[in-house]
């Protein structure tokens, strides 16, 4: 039994400039403790763990998997008198895998906007590689999201614990999670197909892409495939997707679709503008009765 205990990978969750949203999101995982049973949690921001922050700052804690939460800054953020960047560099070297949990740790996120020149993600600054990239790229896994989805993190942790390779894209995001867009599986897809925008807030009907700023069609993430809190998603409850997994999140005017002469300024991921507009012109020429009335009143 003891030997099994010792063979478990040591998990260290380290926070930088953060709101703790990723920490609390992960706590929602219904199988949290069975997932964690595959690891030895050496440090975690809220769960009981073997080592304190004072231990961490002594740079003597063992670490196999490093989870980073929060935006990165080289100087000015200390814990127990030690620069967090120094701790990250140390444990990043120790670890076999580094997971940047959340958009802040991955690309810089919201907190980057306080001091864009000095605050960034750990290995990426928006999309650009930081000077740390070369050193850590071989062990880097990006899990952007504001916050991360608990099941995205558990997928990565379980793959690592089983010794499986995780297929990644150029920004080191697992393709099984980020190969989809938030649009995939949205319950409003029929309205997108027929280019019917929603007529207001608080309606089941209508697509949020044309007026309300929804970034779902060009935002990577499986929010509508693996539901939030095992229940729902922003777009399912009528809230536009704010593109929170993307390198340039958050953009400005999040509740408004940017358009040029009424044409959405950003096209669905990978769709050529000409193809999109051709389709738009065609489908907009038809008036489909079912989509022009309240969904539950049709056929009544």
């Amino acid at each position: 039994m003891d030997q099994v205990q010792h063979s478990k990978p040591k998990l260290l969750w380290l926070q930088s400039i953060t709101c703790n949203g990723n920490t609390h999101s992960f706590l929602n995982h219904p199988d949290l403790f069975s997932i964690l049973s595959h690891f030895e949690v050496v440090h975690h921001p809220v769960l009981e763990s073997d080592y304190t922050i004072a231990d961490l700052t002594a740079l003597k804690v063992p670490c196999d998997i490093l989870i980073l939460e929060g935006s990165f800054v080289e100087k000015g953020l200390t814990k127990n008198g030690v620069e967090v960047s120094q701790m990250i560099a140390h444990y990043g070297n120790e670890a076999a895998h580094i997971i940047t949990a959340g958009t802040c740790a991955t690309f810089g996120g919201i907190f980057k906007q306080k001091d864009p020149k000095h605050i960034s993600g750990f290995c990426f600054d928006h999309e650009q590689q930081t000077k740390r990239y070369e050193q850590f790229a071989s062990k880097l896994i990006s899990l952007p999201g504001c916050p991360i989805h608990p099941r995205w993190l558990s997928y990565v942790l379980m793959m690592l614990s089983r010794g499986h390779d995780i297929a990644l894209d150029t920004l080191h995001r697992p393709v099984e999670l980020y190969g989809y867009t938030v649009h995939t599986g949205c319950t409003r897809n029929e309205y997108f197909e027929w280019k019917i925008d929603t007529k207001g807030y608080g309606l089941k009907e209508g697509c949020l892409f044309y007026e309300q700023g929804c970034q779902g069609p060009y935002t990577r993430g499986s929010c509508n495939k693996i539901l939030w809190n095992d229940t729902s998603s922003k777009t399912r409850v009528g809230t536009p997707c704010f593109g929170c997994t993307e390198p340039y999140y958050p953009k400005n005017r999040l509740f408004v679709t940017r358009t040029n002469m009424g044409i959405p300024a950003t096209m669905p991921l990978g769709v050529p503008r000409r193809a999109y507009l051709t389709l738009t012109g065609v489908v907009k020429s038809f008036k489909i009765k079912r989509f022009s009335q309240r969904l539950l009143e049709y056929d009544q």
Partner: protein
């Protein structure tokens, strides 16, 4: 479709286009078109199963020809002002060289909506052209050259103006050759739409 068949199909469209534009849609019959081409009525029906369908195919054809030309303009690395000039030039030279195409659009497509109601709703048959105009507007607004506004308020200004000029030409009202107006009209459109 074999090349030969495609050529035949296009020649039918060309012949019908001329007859519809000059004699009117209702007055032109399928036998008239067949006669002009020296082919049998039965054979023509192998290509187009009805006059309405032929009419719809023609509008798609003209929209694609026009769209293809505007697409070339969209690909150019020039200012929106120059693009407007080129689009106006294309439109007017088409009115000069292939008046039947523009005439068809104005006199047949817009005047006989019942023929197009089933299969050519809204923009379905003119999407080849509309798509390129959308792309032109989209580019020009995102580069900051044209003012952002509703699509139809800009589209109506641009195309209504050009259509109106071609209509006047068709009525024989214009005192000068239509190409004479290209510079002024391009400038007017640009100043009306610019940011």
């Amino acid at each position: 479709m074999t090349d030969k068949k495609a050529l035949k199909r296009e020649s039918i469209i060309q012949a019908a286009l001329q007859l519809f534009s000059s004699n009117g849609f209702h007055k032109t019959t399928i036998p008239d078109i067949a006669a002009k081409l020296g082919m049998s009525v039965g054979n023509l029906y192998n290509y187009f199963s009805s006059k309405d369908i032929l009419a719809q195919e023609i509008i798609k054809y003209t929209s694609e020809v026009l769209g293809e030309k505007i697409r070339e303009v969209n690909m150019l690395d020039v200012s929106a002002k120059e693009k407007i000039h080129k689009i106006v030039e294309i439109y007017f030279s088409m009115a000069q060289e292939k008046p039947e195409m523009i005439e068809y659009f104005l006199r047949v497509y817009l005047s006989n909506r019942e023929v197009f109601s089933d299969g050519c709703e809204g923009m379905v048959c003119v999407s080849g052209f509309i798509t390129e105009i959308m792309i032109f507007f989209d580019d020009a607004v995102s580069s900051g050259e044209l003012r952002n506004q509703d699509f139809f308020s800009a589209f109506g200004l641009f195309m209504g103006y050009l259509g109106g000029m071609v209509f006047l030409k068709g009525e024989g009202v214009l005192p000068k050759d239509i190409s004479y107006y290209i510079d002024d009209i391009s400038r007017n459109i640009y100043y009306a739409l610019k940011a």
